[in-house]
């Protein structure tokens, strides 16, 4: 495995300085011996196994890993981890990164068509954020030994997936607002718990992303509020966009729990913190009052408040549609992939030119030093 991206200055899930602070500020009564605390338990495990320079046996490593997860501490890049954990993370983080990158397209199409300079600037910033989120996530995947260029190839060759939601078209400017409200709202539901994911670099990338998603959701909702204050035609556009995006947004949380066989393992590893159905329910509960305030109708006849549960009941998404879209037969799958492939290929000369320039500069610097 190549030398992956690093993570420095860290304690378990914390910047190193904070860890050090905890070490120093031991309770007074512990002053005679350094009693193990939550920051030093790793050492205890190591004493229980071996002090020698040789690597402890495989079982010791597994135990150490399990204990770290059980204590709700973070796994960091250079720790030993089971192959399955590494592979699951690479797959999930890559899929997440690809979603951010492909997710630039549906809204990107509206940058030139947005109705004012203000809306253009906002949309530009949002799409740029999506690119940034993709790069934070590729960076996290690289700490696991994955290679960004390889992940890009896998996406372009259709060997890795991205979120089903980006295979739907953006037919009107109201779609830009609804994507911010629903799609970024759903992403927030999904991602806030991931800030406590067991893999440190992934969790830290999610913290950064969640901070920025909030702008995405709010700009979308504000856009819709503005349109709802406009003409009947504008209000109709908003309702139409809501009707088209509601069910695909619910599908973003993935198949129902009983059809999601990998979820249990991911939850045991604390990569995932909540089940698909739980997150979907949270999204519905969060969105219903927002729809009321906005004055739109969510297109689900079964949607109603359930007093006994203290949550909303709602209808079942069309899981066959989700299956179709995931397997490549959604309305825009081909277009999205084609666009990504073209952008990558047409950008090749830029990458090559930059490499050539860097090589030339390096050679000149070397000659200059020799002369």
């Amino acid at each position: 495995m190549r030398f992956g991206a690093q993570e420095f200055f860290r304690g378990p899930g914390q910047p190193f300085t904070i860890t050090f602070g905890h070490r120093v500020l031991l309770p007074r009564e512990n002053h005679v011996t350094l009693e193990p605390n939550e920051w030093s338990v790793g050492k205890l495990v190591s004493m229980a196994t071996t002090h020698s320079a040789e690597a402890p046996d495989r079982d010791g490593l597994q135990e150490h890993f399990d204990a770290t997860i059980a204590r709700d501490q973070r796994i960091e890049p250079r720790d030993w981890m089971p192959d399955g954990y590494r592979k699951t993370l690479i797959r999930q983080i890559a899929q997440h990164a690809h979603s951010e990158i492909i997710g630039m397209q549906p809204e990107g199409e509206w940058i030139t068509k947005a109705p004012s300079l203000r809306r253009k600037a906002i949309l530009f910033a949002k799409v740029q954020d999506e690119a940034g989120h993709g790069l934070y996530l590729y960076s996290a995947a690289e700490t696991l030994g994955a290679d960004r260029a390889d992940l890009t190839t896998r996406l372009i060759e259709g060997r890795q997936k991205y979120s089903s939601i980006f295979n739907y078209p953006t037919l009107s400017f109201a779609d830009v607002g609804v994507i911010g409200w629903f799609v970024d709202g759903a992403a927030i539901c999904n991602q806030v718990p991931l800030c406590r994911s067991s893999y440190g670099p992934y969790a830290r990338a999610m913290v950064r992303i969640c901070k920025e998603e909030s702008f995405h959701q709010r700009q979308g909702y504000e856009l819709l509020l503005t349109m709802m204050r406009g003409t009947d035609a504008q209000r109709a556009m908003v309702q139409d966009a809501v009707d088209r995006w509601w069910w695909p947004s619910l599908m973003m949380f993935g198949p129902p729990d009983d059809a999601s066989p990998n979820s249990a393992q991911s939850m045991a590893w604390k990569i995932k913190r909540h089940s698909n159905d739980e997150l979907r329910q949270r999204f519905v509960d969060m969105t219903v009052p927002q729809a009321d305030k906005l004055g739109v109708r969510l297109p689900d006849p079964e949607l109603r408040w359930n007093e006994a549960r203290g949550r909303h009941d709602f209808g079942t998404p069309d899981w066959d549609e989700l299956k179709r879209v995931i397997t490549g037969n959604g309305p825009c799958n081909d277009r999205r992939m084609e666009r990504r492939r073209t952008a990558h290929e047409e950008g090749a000369w830029v990458r090559e030119a930059a490499t050539a320039h860097a090589a030339k500069q390096a050679a000149r610097a070397k000659d200059g030093a020799a002369a």
Partner: protein, 98 residues
């Protein structure tokens, strides 16, 4: 085609000083053709919302790192020196300013 993809830009680690008075902190990594591009990309990627007043970038391969794992005996020497901590010393409560 995968050859051109593999004509890869090297990996850089990025460190950002959030504001004056703070250390540079590692924030992530990125690929760039050279140092100058790494700085520009780091600015665009990690400081879009005034998160930094100064950026360091360094090629990942130039970093030497300590341990493979936190339970490595590398840090053992500091474990048994409790007298390095102020709480090791008993001072009567009525002694001021200490």
């Amino acid at each position: 085609m995968s050859d051109t993809i593999k004509g890869d830009w090297p990996l850089y680690e990025v460190f950002v000083r959030g504001k004056r008075g703070l250390n540079h902190v590692h924030v992530g990594s990125l690929h760039a053709a050279d140092d100058q591009m790494a700085l520009t990309h780091a600015r665009d990627l990690y400081t879009r919302r005034n998160e930094g007043v100064s950026i360091w970038v360094v090629r990942s391969e130039h970093i030497a790192a300590s341990t493979r794992d936190e339970k490595d005996p590398f840090f053992e020497p500091s474990a048994d020196k409790v007298y390095r901590h102020p709480t090791f010393y008993d001072i009567p409560d009525d002694v001021p300013h200490i």
